[in-house]
């Protein structure tokens, strides 16, 4: 219980920090994107930001819109110098996974694992055991995120 509440508090703090960066977005869509972005980056920056899906999420965020980079760095608290390292890591993983690809494709729950990989950020380059592990962590973080956002929305 203690671990979870501190996770939520951490998320809330970082989310607030991200929202404070202050964008002058006119359309609702843009604002919604900004809110979601801050929330996602905040949840990815919790704990130690070291797990695969967190790194993959941050990389995705930065690559989609390079202007987000300063938001990410603000929330993270340090520079994103490891983006190159992460891409190298992912390509190495990808190569390793593709080498074992025949076994993977032969399995019966192939469709399902593919679907799961699409959902979890960075899931394409994980093998079966790692995928489940990361999914677990991801679900915990998502729940915390949803809880906090819900309560906040309920207040206002």
């Amino acid at each position: 219980m203690k671990a979870r509440s501190s996770l939520k508090q951490e998320f809330l703090e970082k989310w607030r920090k991200g929202l404070q960066i202050g964008r002058n977005d006119s359309t609702i869509l843009e604002r919604k994107d900004a809110i979601k972005l801050s929330a996602d980056v905040a949840i990815a920056a919790t704990r130690n930001a070291a797990t695969r899906w967190r790194r993959a999420l941050l990389c995705d965020v930065v690559s989609k819109n390079p202007t987000n980079k300063h938001v990410v760095e603000q929330i993270l608290g340090h520079k994103l110098k490891n983006t190159a390292a992460t891409t190298r890591l992912t390509t190495a993983c990808r190569r390793r996974i593709l080498r074992r690809g025949q076994n993977y494709r032969r399995r019966k729950r192939n469709k399902r694992s593919r679907a799961l990989r699409k959902l979890v950020p960075g899931g394409e380059e994980m093998d079966g055991v790692l995928l489940l592990q990361e999914t677990l962590d991801y679900i915990v973080s998502l729940r915390a995120q949803v809880d906090v956002m819900r309560r906040l929305a309920a207040i206002t």
Binding site: T27, I28, L29, R31, K32, I35, K36, A39, D40, D60, K108, R109, K111, R112, S113, R114, A115, L116, K118, L119, V120, P121, G128, V129, L132, Q133, T135, L136, Y138, I139, V140, L142, R143, Q145, V146, M149, R150, R151, L152, A153, A154, T156
Partner: protein, 377 residues
């Protein structure tokens, strides 16, 4: 002495073999190392039993000295063994030892025992190694290969299941017997026993996956499914649900008017997945709504769960209308004008079914979040 002692042994050994199989199956997790070398001994034993009559000449040294000192060692080893494993296995090993004894072990065997006993920390190993050494001696018939054997037996002490395989391989190589070759095949055919590193790795991997699945089961609701595939389906659904919640919740901060179909996850382009097609069945809807209204009186959470079980969800009218206008599909007419972002009371919410084409499994999914009813907390 040897001939009559063998006759009652063979049928006894067969039954013991079957018992050993069961034990192997049950204790596979617990004591893999203890059991599997023993069972390979059984194979060797059978082969020895069948092959001994034609080759009594290969053990000339056996007839010369049946030293009594060895029996002491063997009984000591047997006693140790007894402490380690169950009765049936111990009995099997006893018979094994007796057989080897009856073959007659020379002094080198004695020395080997001492060497092994002193060096191995695990008390089960000396007995294993003693019997393995005995088998080795029987097969090679060369008591002179002391150093070679001790090396191999040190291997056995450190190793696992692979060692039995290497032993059988080595035995086959050195003796070149048809019997040894048959024993190698038989070892491979054993059920419940991993005889090559690939299956060991596979098993380890499967165990790890099972662990993760179990912990995921506790986390995800509706986890009463025992099937791994349906469990994975649940997990996938739940992750999609949570992701959609995040998306919708970030919209709700803006007052509920959404311009985007909130179905598609952010990673994929929005246009790829056609958004909300409304599949509401008008006749069924009334009964569902009544049920939901009834549940909402007591507990919002249970109402949500009920809806979720049916593949539906609750949302305020404004959001529903916004989504519907965005996707331009037919929809339920709203009961009331205003629901707002606050707590909706039951008659003012509309229930909407949303079908997402994102699932590869083809199940209907309801992935709209009910926004911010305070009772939902």
């Amino acid at each position: 002495m040897r001939e009559p002692s063998r006759e009652p042994e063979s049928p006894g050994l067969n039954s013991i073999n079957s018992v050993m199989n069961q034990h192997l199956f049950l204790h596979e997790m617990l004591q893999p190392f203890n059991f599997e070398p023993t069972s390979s001994h059984e194979d060797f034993l059978e082969q020895m039993l069948s092959s001994v009559p034609p080759t009594p000449s290969s053990f000339p040294w056996a007839d010369d000295h049946p030293p009594p000192g060895n029996s002491e060692d063997h009984s000591a080893a047997m006693r140790m063994r007894h402490q380690q494993i169950s009765g049936a296995a111990a009995k099997a090993l006893m018979l094994q030892q007796q057989l080897l004894l009856s073959r007659g072990f020379s002094a080198p065997m004695h020395d080997h025992n001492d060497v092994v006993d002193s060096s191995s920390p695990n008390s089960a190993n000396p007995a294993n190694d003693a019997s393995i050494k005995g088998l080795f001696n029987v097969f090679t018939g060369l008591p002179g290969q002391n150093s070679n054997q001790s090396q191999q037996f040190h291997h056995l002490q450190g190793g696992g299941l692979q060692q039995s395989q290497s032993l059988s391989g080595a035995a086959a190589a050195t003796s070149g017997d048809g019997a040894a070759g048959r024993s190698k095949q038989k070892v491979r055919a054993r059920r419940g026993q991993a005889t090559d590193p690939h299956s060991i790795a596979e098993r380890l991997r499967r165990e790890r996956i099972a662990e993760r699945m179990k912990s995921l089961q506790e986390l995800v609701p509706n986890a009463n499914k025992t099937d791994k595939a349906s469990m994975l389906d649940e997990i996938i659904d739940y992750v999609k649900f949570l992701q959609l919640q995040v998306k919708v919740l970030s919209m709700s901060r803006l007052g509920g008017a959404a311009a985007v179909a909130p179905l598609a996850p952010d990673k994929s382009p929005e246009g790829r997945q056609p958004a909300a097609s409304n599949n509401s069945n008008k006749e069924g809807m009334a009964a569902t709504e009544q049920q939901v209204a009834k549940l909402l009186e007591e507990d919002m959470g249970s109402a949500m769960q009920y809806l979720q079980g049916k593949g539906l969800c609750l949302m305020p009218i404004s959001l529903a209308t916004a989504i519907s206008t965005a996707t331009s599909h037919s929809r339920n007419p709203p009961h009331n004008g205003e629901a707002g972002g606050g707590g909706p009371s039951s008659p003012s919410t509309s229930v909407m079914t949303v079908q997402s084409s994102a699932t590869t499994i083809g199940r209907k999914m309801s992935l709209q979040e009910a926004i911010a009813a305070p009772k939902l907390e």
